[in-house]
C-alpha cells in the first residue's frame, strides 16, 4: 500500500475504534490531517536545505454532558500502536470534560453525509527534483521552495458521517533575482511537466529582463495604479482577517462592518464569492459540514453574506453556512470584469503597475484601512509604456476607496493563487482573482 492507502486504512480502523467505545452520553468528531512531503529550499539556484516529512495527526472532539474538549495527537501509522494512543487520549478527553463547565454553544453533531475523493498525481521522484529544477534555471539567481507529496484530510463522527479527501500535488514557489530586483512566480499542479516548468521559468526570466532599467524613486502620494492578480491576491487576503466573519462583526472586530451596516459602499465592479468548484480544497469543514458549492459574499459591491460557523449561528441565533470556526474564505474567487489584458497599460496611462504586495495589516480595522508594501516587479508607467522598476513604497489605503469609488476596472481574466502555506503542515486551498485598475491609490513612505 502507498502512503495514502495505508493512511486511509489506518484512519478508518483507528477512528472506528474510538467511535465504537463511546458511551450513551457521549458524541465524538474525529479529523485526520496527514502528509508525506518533500521540501526543497533553494538559494542561488542551489539547495540550501532539503527535508522529507511524514506525519499523521488525529483530532478528537468529545462532547459529554454538554461539555466539549478537543484533543489532537500525532499518530504513527501503525494501527495497533495508534489504537493504544487513541485509548489513552479518549480517557483523557473524558476526564477533561468532567472538569469543564457546560458549553452553551456546543454544536450537536449530525450526519452530514459521506464523501470519498482521492486524486493521484504524477510527481517527480524526490531524488530527481534538484536536477529537474536547477538545470533549466542554470544561470539564474533562483530562490524558493519546492514542495510535493500526498496530502490528506478526513473526517468521521459518531452520527455516521464520513469524509475523505486525498490529493497528490506540488508547488514550486520561487523568485528570480537581478541584484536586489526580483520577479516572483509559482508553478503548481498535480502532474509535473518538465516543459511546462521550463516555460514558466522562461516567462519569469523575461519579466526579470524588464527590471534591467534604472530604478524610479517616487514621492509619497496618490497614484493611478494597476494591481496585477498577485497584488489583488495579497490585498484580498485581508478579507480573511475577520472582514467576512459574522462572529467578528458581532464582537466589534470586523473590517467591513460599515459595509454590512450600509454606512459605506464598495464598487459595483467588485464581487467576491466562495467557489468550491475551483477544486482547490474540499468542501467539508472540520465538523464535516458541507459548504455550499458557491456562496456570494460581496456581490456588485454589496455584502450578501458573512461566513457563519454553526457555533456562531447558535450563539447569535442565525443560520450558518458551514464556515470553519475562524470564519474566513477557504475557496475565494474575486469575479472578473471587462478590462482586457491588452488594454491594461493603455488604460493605466501614467501610474504604477504593481505585480505584488507584501506584509499587509489593518492600520484602522473599523474603517477598513490597510497598510503594506510594494514588492517584486513593480513599475512606473508613463503614457502606457513601462519606464522602469520602482523603489519600494509603503501604502496606507482604505478598501472603501480602492475597492469603492476609485475602482476603475477589473480584468476579464483571473489567475489562480494556490495556497503555499506550510506552517506545521501543508495547507489546502487558494484563490482565483483578476487584476484591478484603481485611481488615487495612496502611498505614504
Amino acid at each position: 500500500m502507498n502512503f495514502t492507502e495505508k493512511t486511509k486504512d489506518g484512519f478508518n480502523k483507528v477512528a472506528d475504534h474510538i467511535l465504537d467505545q463511546l458511551q450513551n452520553n457521549e458524541a465524538a468528531n474525529i479529523n485526520l490531517h496527514a502528509e508525506d512531503s518533500t521540501f526543497i529550499r533553494f538559494n542561488n539556484n542551489k539547495v540550501r536545505q532539503n527535508t522529507q516529512v511524514e506525519q499523521r495527526g488525529l483530532s478528537l472532539l468529545l462532547q459529554k454532558n454538554s461539555r466539549s474538549i478537543n484533543l489532537s495527537f500525532s499518530i504513527t501509522g501503525n494501527i495497533e500502536d495508534d489504537k493504544k494512543r487513541a485509548d489513552q487520549f479518549l480517557k483523557m478527553a473524558r476526564t477533561e470534560c468532567d472538569l469543564l463547565p457546560e458549553d452553551p454553544f456546543q454544536v450537536p453533531l449530525q450526519n452530514n453525509g459521506q464523501s470519498d475523493h482521492s486524486f493521484q498525481g504524477k510527481l517527480l521522484d524526490p531524488a530527481n527534483v534538484v536536477e529537474a529544477i536547477t538545470t533549466p534555471a542554470a544561470g539564474s539567481d533562483l530562490a524558493g521552495l519546492y514542495c510535493a507529496g500526498p496530502l490528506i484530510s478526513a473526517n468521521k463522527n459518531s452520527m455516521g458521517q464520513s469524509h475523505w479527501f486525498a490529493n497528490e500535488n506540488f508547488f514550486m514557489d520561487y523568485s528570480l533575482y537581478m541584484g536586489e530586483k526580483a520577479v516572483k512566480a509559482v508553478y503548481a499542479g498535480t502532474e509535473w511537466n518538465q516543459k511546462d516548468f521550463a516555460a514558466n521559468l522562461t516567462h519569469t526570466q523575461r519579466q526579470l529582463a524588464l527590471m534591467n532599467r534604472p530604478k524610479v524613486e517616487l514621492k509619497p502620494g496618490a497614484y493611478r495604479t494597476y494591481l496585477a492578480p498577485g497584488a489583488v491576491a495579497e490585498l484580498t487576503s485581508m478579507l480573511a482577517w475577520g472582514a467576512l466573519s459574522y462572529n467578528a462583526y458581532k464582537q466589534g472586530a470586523c473590517g467591513l462592518a460599515k459595509l454590512a451596516d450600509k454606512e459605506k459602499t464598495l464598487s459595483p465592479l467588485f464581487s467576491v464569492r466562495e467557489n468550491y468548484g475551483l477544486g482547490l480544497t474540499h468542501r467539508f469543514n472540520s465538523l464535516g459540514e458541507l459548504a455550499p458549492e458557491t456562496l456570494d459574499l460581496i456581490s456588485k459591491g454589496e455584502l450578501k453574506s458573512f461566513l457563519v460557523s454553526t457555533r456562531s449561528a447558535k450563539e447569535y441565533t442565525t443560520t450558518g453556512n458551514a464556515a470553519e470556526g475562524w470564519e474566513g474564505p477557504r475557496a475565494m474567487e474575486v469575479l472578473p470584469g471587462t478590462l482586457k489584458e491588452s488594454e491594461i497599460l493603455k488604460q493605466l496611462d501614467t501610474g504604477l503597475y504593481l505585480s505584488n504586495l507584501h506584509y499587509l495589516n489593518w492600520s484602522d480595522r473599523l474603517n477598513a484601512r490597510i497598510t503594506g508594501m510594494t514588492r517584486y516587479a513593480c513599475f512606473w508607467v508613463e503614457k502606457g509604456e513601462i519606464v522602469g522598476p520602482i523603489k519600494d513604497l509603503r501604502f496606507d489605503e482604505n478598501l472603501y476607496d480602492c475597492l469603492g469609488q476609485n475602482l476603475l476596472g477589473v480584468t476579464d481574466f483571473q489567475e489562480t493563487d494556490p495556497q503555499v502555506g506550510t506552517y506545521e503542515s501543508r495547507s489546502f486551498g487558494g484563490k482565483k482573482v483578476p487584476g484591478m485598475l484603481v485611481k488615487d491609490f495612496k502611498f505614504t513612505l
Binding site: R48, Q52, L99, A127, A182, Q251, G252, L366, D392
Partner: protein
C-alpha cells in the same frame, strides 16, 4: 522508544547523524463572556533525523517513532542529502555540529500539570466578570496558551542534549462599543505576556485586577480623541518596544536573511556583511544583546539545535553594529561571528537562524524625567498593527492606547495611535532610554520555507525618539 539503540543501528548510514525527539503538549484555554470558548489540547510527537553526507545536511522527520519508522526516516534523510550533494549551497563540516552534552529546564515554582482545567476555568470566568465594568463592554475574553516541550537530541559524534520548556502565554482583553465606535484593549498586545514559568503565573488577585484595568481602558478609549497627525517626540512603552526591536533589529540582523535564504518568503535585509563593525545603526544610547540566558524569558535555552552553547552576546554597542544573528552554518558561510540561534519550530522542520531573546539594554533615565523632557509628544503602548518591508526598512506600527505629552506632562488619552519610519534614521533619533525594563515576547514569529512558527522574547526599556511621524485613524 530507545533512541540510543536506534542511533546505533543507523549511525553508519552517513558521515554523521543525529536524532532529535520532540514532544510538545499545547493547551489552549479561552473563555469569552463567562462561557467556554475553546478548550483544546494537542500532543505533538516525532523524530527528526539529520545526516551529513559529503558536506550537505539532509533531513527527514517522522511521526512514526517506532524503531522501523526512524530507520526509514534515516534512509530518506540520506536520500535527501545525496540528491543535493552536487548542488549544495555550501560544503559543511562537523565544525557546524559541535559535540555537546547538557540539560536545561525552565524555572518553575509550581508545575503546570498541578493546575487543573477547573482551576483555570474558575479564574478565567471570574476574569471575564471583572471586565464587565460598564454596559459599553460588548466582548470579554481570557486566554491562556500553555506549552510543555521536551527536546532530546543525540548524535553519532557523542552529543546528548535534553531541554525541557514550560511556557505560558496569557491575554485578558475587552472590547467596548458606543454607536459605531469599537475599541479593544488587550494586555500588552495580544499574547505578548509570555514567559518560561509554571502555574504560579495564574495569580488570581493579579489577574482580576489586570482584567478590570484592561476593560476600563477600553471604555476610556471610546471617548478619547484620535491621535494627531504630526511629527513629534514619540515615547514607546516596553510592550511596543518589543515589536519595534523584533521587526527592525531582530529580523534584519538574521544572517540567513542577509545570505538570501529567506528572500522568496519574508525577504532579506538592508544590512550588508560589510556593515558589521561599521554601521551606526542607532544613537549611542542603543545597546542590543542576544541573550538566551535570561531567567524566565520566552526564548531562553542552553543549546541551539546544532549543539552550540548559548551565551549572551552584544549585537549593537553604543549604536554601532557589531554582530549578527547567525548560527554556526551561517557563520561559516559569511565568515562572521554569530550566536547560538540555529533553531527549529519542532521535529518536522530543519533548523534555521532565529532571533531568540533580543534585548535592549537599560539606559540611565527615569521614566518621569523622560516624560518631563518632552514639550509635545505621544506616549504609545501595546502593539495592535505591524508591517515592515522585505528589507526591514520602511515600517508602520499601530498601538492600542496612547497619552498626549504636553509641556512635560501626560495629558489626554488618545485612540488609534500609529507611527511610521525607516529603521536606521529611526534608531538614530533615540534620545533617552529608561533604567526600568520589562519582558514580553511572542509565541508566533513566522519565518522559513517550509514555514515555521517560533517563540521569541524581548526585554526592553521605555525609549524616547525625536521627530517621528505619528498619526491617527
Amino acid at each position: 522508544m530507545d533512541l540510543q539503540r536506534t542511533l546505533q543501528s543507523v549511525k553508519n548510514h552517513a558521515d554523521w547523524i543525529s536524532l532529535r525527539h520532540v514532544t510538545e503538549k499545547t493547551t489552549l484555554r479561552s473563555y469569552r463572556d463567562e462561557k467556554p470558548d475553546r478548550n483544546q489540547i494537542s500532543y505533538d510527537d516525532g523524530v527528526m533525523v539529520e545526516v551529513l553526507v559529503n558536506g550537505h545536511f539532509g533531513y527527514a522527520g517522522t511521526s512514526d517513532i517506532s524503531d522501523a519508522g526512524i530507520r526509514k526516516a534515516a534512509d530518506r534523510a540520506v536520500l535527501m542529502a545525496r540528491s543535493a550533494v552536487d548542488k549544495k549551497a555550501f560544503n559543511f563540516t562537523l565544525e557546524q555540529r559541535p559535540q555537546s552534552q547538557g540539560r536545561y529546564k525552565s524555572p518553575v515554582i509550581k508545575p503546570l500539570d498541578s493546575f487543573s482545567a477547573k482551576e483555570i476555568s474558575d479564574i478565567f470566568v471570574d476574569a471575564n466578570k471583572a471586565m464587565k465594568v460598564s454596559d459599553k463592554i460588548v466582548s470579554r475574553q481570557a486566554t491562556a496558551m500553555i506549552v510543555e516541550t521536551h527536546f532530546y537530541s543525540i548524535s553519532s559524534s557523542g552529543s546528548e542534549m535534553e531541554q525541557n520548556f514550560s511556557i505560558v502565554s496569557t491575554d485578558f482583553s475587552a472590547t467596548a462599543a458606543e454607536g459605531s465606535e469599537f475599541q479593544t484593549r488587550t494586555e500588552n498586545g495580544g499574547l505578548a505576556r509570555c514567559f518560561q514559568v509554571g502555574a504560579e503565573i495564574f495569580d488570581r488577585v493579579s489577574i482580576l485586577e489586570r482584567s478590570r484595568r484592561v476593560a476600563e481602558e477600553a471604555v476610556e478609549l471610546l471617548t478619547s480623541e484620535n491621535c494627531p497627525n504630526e511629527t513629534m517626540d514619540l515615547l514607546l512603552a516596553p510592550d511596543q518596544m518589543t515589536l519595534q526591536v523584533h521587526e527592525s533589529i531582530g529580523h534584519p540582523l538574521e544572517y540567513d536573511r542577509i545570505l538570501g535564504d529567506e528572500r522568496n518568503y519574508a525577504g532579506w535585509s538592508f544590512v550588508k556583511p560589510q556593515d558589521f563593525g561599521t554601521l551606526q545603526y542607532g544613537s549611542k544610547l542603543m545597546n542590543v544583546t542576544f541573550d538566551p540566558t535570561v531567567q524566565d524569558a520566552m526564548a531562553s535555552y542552553a543549546f541551539d539545535d546544532s549543539g552550540n552553547k548559548a551565551t549572551k552576546e552584544f549585537l549593537i554597542r553604543e549604536g554601532k553594529l557589531e554582530r549578527g544573528l547567525g548560527g554556526l552554518e551561517s557563520q561559516a558561510r559569511l565568515k562572521l561571528p554569530g550566536v547560538a540561534n540555529t533553531r527549529s519550530s519542532s521535529w518536522n522542520r530543519a533548523p534555521i537562524d532565529r532571533m531568540a531573546n533580543i534585548n535592549l539594554e537599560p539606559g540611565t533615565s527615569r521614566l518621569e524625567d523622560m516624560i518631563a523632557s518632552v514639550e509635545r509628544g505621544v506616549f504609545m503602548m501595546a502593539n495592535k498593527s505591524w508591517s515592515i518591508d522585505d528589507y526591514r526598512n520602511k515600517f508602520q506600527f499601530g498601538c492600542e492606547y496612547a497619552k498626549l505629552i504636553e509641556n512635560g506632562q501626560l495629558t489626554k488619552t488618545l485612540k488609534n495611535p500609529n507611527y511610521r519610519g525607516i529603521t536606521v534614521p529611526f534608531w538614530n533619533s533615540l534620545k533617552a532610554v529608561s533604567q526600568a525594563r520589562e519582558t514580553y515576547g511572542s509565541p508566533f514569529c513566522g519565518k522559513g520555507e517550509p514555514n515555521q512558527v517560533i517563540r521569541v522574547g524581548h526585554t526592553t526599556p521605555y525609549c524616547l525618539f525625536a521627530n517621528i511621524e505619528v498619526f491617527g485613524a
